[in-house]
């Protein structure tokens, strides 16, 4: 039971508000190149640590990383950790059982030092192990969006 004092209706605002974030020049290139089915990393010119997605300042040694330090990665990598999900959210705050469990993997791409988290398909949860070799699966039509990377599959 709700008393009237607990209800504050929000209405009649004179404007709507949204955000329009700058991604920065390195991330901009990364997203654009996805359309060409290329994954870019940024290799620190000072310490060599390679970031995916790319960035403009090294978090290890704080050197500047420029556009000239972008490298193209092969799209192949190694699974370094994973989890298996059995439920998803239904959009109204409730859990829903998944028909098939979904695997989410932490993947270290060839020539990269940082990891990315992506869905892993084409393998049963009981067959997954750390060290599994995987490769990127693109969606049918790539448009230069993050969603161009559909998932990873065993290589």
């Amino acid at each position: 039971m709700k008393s009237k004092s607990e209800i504050v209706e929000v209405q009649a605002l004179p404007f709507a508000a949204g955000f329009n974030w700058s991604t920065g020049f390195q991330m901009q290139r990364f997203i654009e190149e996805l359309a060409n089915r290329k994954i870019l990393g940024a290799k620190c010119p000072q310490c060599g640590y390679t970031y995916v997605p790319p960035r403009s300042r090294c978090g290890k040694c704080y050197a500047k990383i420029g556009e000239e330090n972008l490298i193209t990665l092969s799209g192949k990598g190694t699974l370094v950790g994973y989890t298996t999900a059995y439920v998803k959210l239904d959009g109204q705050g409730n859990f829903q059982d998944l028909e098939e469990p979904g695997i989410i993997g932490a993947i270290k791409l060839e020539n990269a030092d940082s990891t990315i988290f992506m869905p892993l398909e084409g393998i049963k949860p009981r067959d997954v192990t750390e060290g599994l070799k995987v490769e990127v699966q693109w969606r049918e039509e790539t448009k230069g969006e993050l969603a161009d990377i559909r998932c990873f599959k065993p290589a």
């Binding site: 508000a17 329009n20 974030w21």
Partner: protein
């Protein structure tokens, strides 16, 4: 026992409407590395960071976590401060506390705003986020949201400042032409400051007077821009400051007060607070305390330059009086005589001030930074043509009620 503390380096980004080439972390790091270079201090020597932008602006809830890697903060103390429009003033004072306490020897203060990350023009998106907190606050007084939006939130800081301006005009006898003069001076001064946003060499009061009134007594040409940019200072204890800087800018006195002019409880809604929105007692209290700490007895004689927080031109006049730089109701007369120009008797905002450059979270830190540049003799084209022994930096904001005052000098003063 507090230690003597000085600013030994300053760094800024060029301010502009849109920095789409960088994200927030990258923009903030530009200012930090510029300041470190200016101070000739390496990241290894930095012990702590004090950071901040307007709460809710930029749409990033915890920007300090995102940008830590980019500014070299991992493994060090990071404090984020958010006190509305005063944020930068509080961030600068926070760096002072960090070092004066003896806890750390070198701290970097950095503040920023990136308005272009809002989809709507200017500060609209950010203000909604700040405003929402106040809407619910108002609901607790039984005010409907619709009425609140109609009376208070529309125009935001401008809505507050118009009332300050008309009250000040009424009691001081100044007129709208004086606001034209302040705005024109801000744009002319900004043209001499390579980091400033609205630069207009040779801008005249007549140029400003040709722009439309948007809310009396403010014309379009009176209003500050919404800028993207970041500012940083390097703050150090006495031994290091003397070693690193030829002329450090010493913190001599500082204070901050909230006054009763809370936008929800006083001038708009008949509360118990202030009836004259231009009274600004918090500024007077802060200045009095900061001058006492700095050993300044007569600010009209002892202050050489002031950076006053003036997103709206009326505020340069109102606050300059509250900072004790002019007698009550006379700042506009000094303006008429050119006394507040860069080469005048009491230069106000030689940098162009907030009226020309407004990356909200960093504006009050910029006032401290600009005073430091004047003392260090590094203000280049907008350097005031005299020896600067004492400078006063002011910040205004919060929910229009919070004030910071910081007095810097060419010696520690004790």
């Amino acid at each position: 026992m507090r230690r003597n503390v000085a600013i030994i380096g300053c760094g800024q980004t060029k301010h502009t409407s849109k920095r789409r080439d960088v994200n927030i972390a990258e923009m903030v790091s530009e200012a930090v590395y510029n300041a470190l270079e200016d101070a000739q201090v390496s990241l290894r020597e930095v012990d702590a960071f004090v950071v901040g932008n307007m709460q809710g602006f930029g749409g990033i809830a915890q920007p300090e976590q995102w940008l830590g890697d980019s500014i070299g903060a991992p493994g060090k103390s990071v404090i984020r401060i958010a006190t509305g429009g005063t944020t930068g003033g509080s961030v600068g004072q926070g760096a002072y506390y960090t070092v004066a306490s003896g806890l750390h020897d070198v701290a970097v203060a950095v503040a920023w705003e990136k308005h272009s990350d809002s989809r709507e023009a200017g500060a609209t998106t950010g203000l909604l986020h700040v405003g929402l907190g106040n809407f619910f606050h108002a609901a607790s007084y039984g005010l409907s949201l619709k009425n609140l939006v109609a009376t208070s939130a529309v125009g935001a800081a401008a809505g507050v400042a118009v009332f300050q301006a008309v009250f000040y005009m009424h009691r001081s006898g100044c007129s709208i032409e004086h606001f034209d003069m302040v705005a024109a001076k801000a744009r002319r001064n900004a043209a001499k400051n390579k980091y400033a946003h609205l630069q207009w060499p040779g801008c005249t009061p007549e140029d400003i007077a040709r722009t439309e009134i948007i809310a009396y007594p403010f014309r379009y040409g009176h209003i500050c821009p919404a800028s993207d940019g970041a500012s940083a200072i390097v703050v150090a204890e006495e031994n290091l400051a003397r070693k690193k800087a030829r002329q450090p800018a010493w913190f001599k006195g500082l204070a901050a007060f909230s006054d009763e002019e809370n936008s929800l409880q006083s001038e708009n809604f008949g509360g118990v607070g202030v009836l004259d929105p231009s009274e600004q007692k918090g500024c007077w209290m802060s200045a009095t305390k900061a001058y006492k700490m700095a050993g300044i007895k007569d600010p009209q004689k002892e202050i050489d330059v002031a950076e006053v927080y003036q997103p709206f031109p009326s505020q340069e006049l109102i606050f300059a009086e509250r900072l004790g730089l002019f007698d009550e109701g006379t700042a506009w007369m000094a303006l008429e005589k050119g006394e507040t120009d860069i080469d005048g008797r009491m230069p106000l905002d030689p940098s162009g001030g907030v009226n020309a450059t407004n990356a909200i979270g960093s504006t009050a830190l910029q006032r401290i930074l600009e005073c430091a540049l004047q003392i260090m003799g590094k203000a280049e084209e907008h350097q005031v043509p005299r020896k600067v022994s004492n400078a006063v930096a002011h910040g205004w904001g919060g929910v229009t009620n919070y004030i910071t005052v910081t007095v810097l000098g060419d010696s520690p003063g004790r």
